[in-house]
Symmetry: C2
Subunit: 341 residues, 2 copies
DNA sequence: GTGAAAGCGCTAACAA
DNA sequence: TTGTTAGCGCTTTCAC
């Protein structure tokens, strides 16, 4: 006796054919209500479980959207995936997640896995390590719909949803200036990534607009980590021109900066103001609570899935417009940057 | 012209047959090095991509391990998955993640998705909402290997890796007592979950051992959240017997307690000591830093994958021993519970 | 409304 | 070492 029940087994039991069973199970038009109910009942009785592998092979569709994120340990991505899942489930898709662990190699492996599994679409947020885009372009050649979110690159001919990083950085920097800080430093991320590059530019633009001279010694390129924040502070404090405020490229970096400052008994926000980017969960729980820029994670997830759905529906058509949705950054000012009360 | 290249296409080009191509591509014994190299070359040239759906349908194996976690927004689970992935990749498996969002319904959906996709094994950490186990038992009937991690239940005839929650709670409570606290309260989780039940028991046992009378008013059943921690504090402070120390069932609950205490200007650890459980990332960054019990996440991931591998290899054999690996909790004492210096 | 039959792309048992 | 053939479980076109 075989372990798994197939539609053939059900057909046999009901003295009919696999075709009929398939139709009944899939709600096809042109099947009598009576047979349908009967099939459904027997299927349940026999503990039938559709083999979606066989089904996919035949139909060419899997109903699965593959999502590649750098790390499940960063709340930000978990939250975006949440948004994706909400929309996906509403539209009858299942979401599977693959972690790249910020490595270009794993990222490629994830893409291969998903392509080989013939998922209906792939959504990606780039790994930090990724500097060339061959694997993305190869994937695109398969005509599998692809959408980037958050960490994308306009150079790629691929749809994306990001937030306006330039504007977010501009807002953050302007806020620090308006709080009365004079010497604003920036701890950046790897500048080969467009996300982080836009943030430096927003920072510079804000300084310029407010007539503050830019000092290249006040820009430190880190790797987006707690340790990078610490290193940057040590670097700044050893220089001649010491900053009185820090705009960090994201919250973990800001956290590192805060820790290093606290260990040196430098008061935040009285002596040095700090603002981050991303609105990670921990920000509101640390002391002082962290000012930051919120990236509308759930909206980002939903919007990017919408783009995906469009691509899936338009698949095969010759429309080639690239869609780039850009969300507005939302400032979240907390204690760490509030010099004025 | 078809979009996807199949082994038949390669065979045609090389004037040979699909069988040969398959053998070459899969490193089968008994194929000449020459043809193999040739096939590999042409396959690359033609941009061939194995259809793992077809391959799985035929071979009955997918090379995929499905992992169901309550939430990707809790670092703890991300970290365990990390451990799982490390071992899985080493053994040629790919890991896909499904979030249950703490809902029994989603959990079941995840299991169905994975079963229908015919994954080679499923690893689960139970959702908070789950109170009946029918979906687990149904899954087990399919003979698909299943392993639980962290949130498991000994009542289930299914392999698991957990930590010794009883002992962890015992250590935490004893630590508070030894720090000089006299009235130790416990904020528990939903008591239908064995994990949390064991922790209450460990708490009670520690009190008993130290000759401290247990007060049921000092046990508050929460739902494992920041808000639960806050509620518990409000509850305790409104009672007659006010605690001078809190053992929280996990770190988010402890965080809620700390926030509520701080808002009332109650000093931690001087007036009230606090210890959590899980060693979430944020714990070392808050003020005061949070004492907690580490659950050896990465080891947990690795060990649970090892159990999975055993099950996969023994599949079909009649061995029916249930393996339950229990890891040792590791105390991490930080500021929040250190009354004595 | 249902049956018959072909085939999705691959693997594996059996021949040669 | 390679070719031949059957079939994994399902969907779908074409008959009736």
């Amino acid at each position: 006796m075989s372990l798994t029940v197939t539609i053939a087994d059900i057909a046999q039991k009901l003295h009919t054919t696999p075709g009929t069973i398939s139709r009944a199970l899939n709600n096809h038009p042109g099947i009598s209500e009576k047979t349908k109910q009967q099939v459904l009942k027997v299927a349940a009785q026999m503990n039938y479980r559709r083999n979606s592998i066989a089904s996919s092979l035949r139909s060419g569709q899997t109903g699965i959207i593959g999502v590649i994120i750098p790390s499940a340990e960063i709340n930000f991505f978990g939250s975006v995936v949440h948004g994706i899942e909400t929309m996906a489930n509403k539209n009858g898709y299942n979401v599977l997640i693959y972690q790249s662990n910020e490595s270009r190699e794993h990222e490629q492996k994830g893409i291969e896995t998903f392509l080989n599994a013939r998922v209906d679409g792939i959504m990606i947020s780039m790994a930090k390590e990724t500097t060339d885009y061959k694997h993305f372009l190869d994937a695109k050649k398969t005509k599998t719909p692809i959408v980037f979110f958050d960490r994308a690159d306009d150079q790629l001919p691929i749809d994306s949803v990001t937030i306006n990083d330039y504007k977010g950085a501009f807002i953050a920097t302007t806020h620090l200036i308006e709080q009365g800080y004079k010497k604003i430093a920036h701890i950046s991320g790897p500048l080969h990534m467009p996300v982080f590059k836009s943030r430096v530019e927003g920072y510079k633009a804000a300084l310029k607009k407010k007539g503050i001279k830019q000092d290249t010694n006040l820009i430190f390129e880190g790797d987006v980590s707690i340790e990078a924040g610490r290193k940057a502070i040590r670097h700044f404090l050893s220089g001649k021109n010491k900053p009185d405020a820090i705009f960090a490229v994201e919250d973990f970096t800001a956290l590192g900066a805060i820790k290093e400052l606290k260990e040196r008994n430098i008061l935040i926000p009285q002596q040095v103001g700090v603002i981050g980017f991303a609105n990670e969960n921990f920000g509101e729980h640390i002391t002082p609570s962290l000012s930051t820029i919120d990236q509308q994670t759930v909206t980002m997830g939903k919007e990017s899935f919408n783009l995906m759905l469009n691509l899936i529906e338009k698949k095969g058509s010759s429309k080639k417009t690239i869609h780039r949705k850009i969300l507005e950054p939302v400032p979240v000012f907390r204690e760490s940057s509030m010099k004025k009360k």
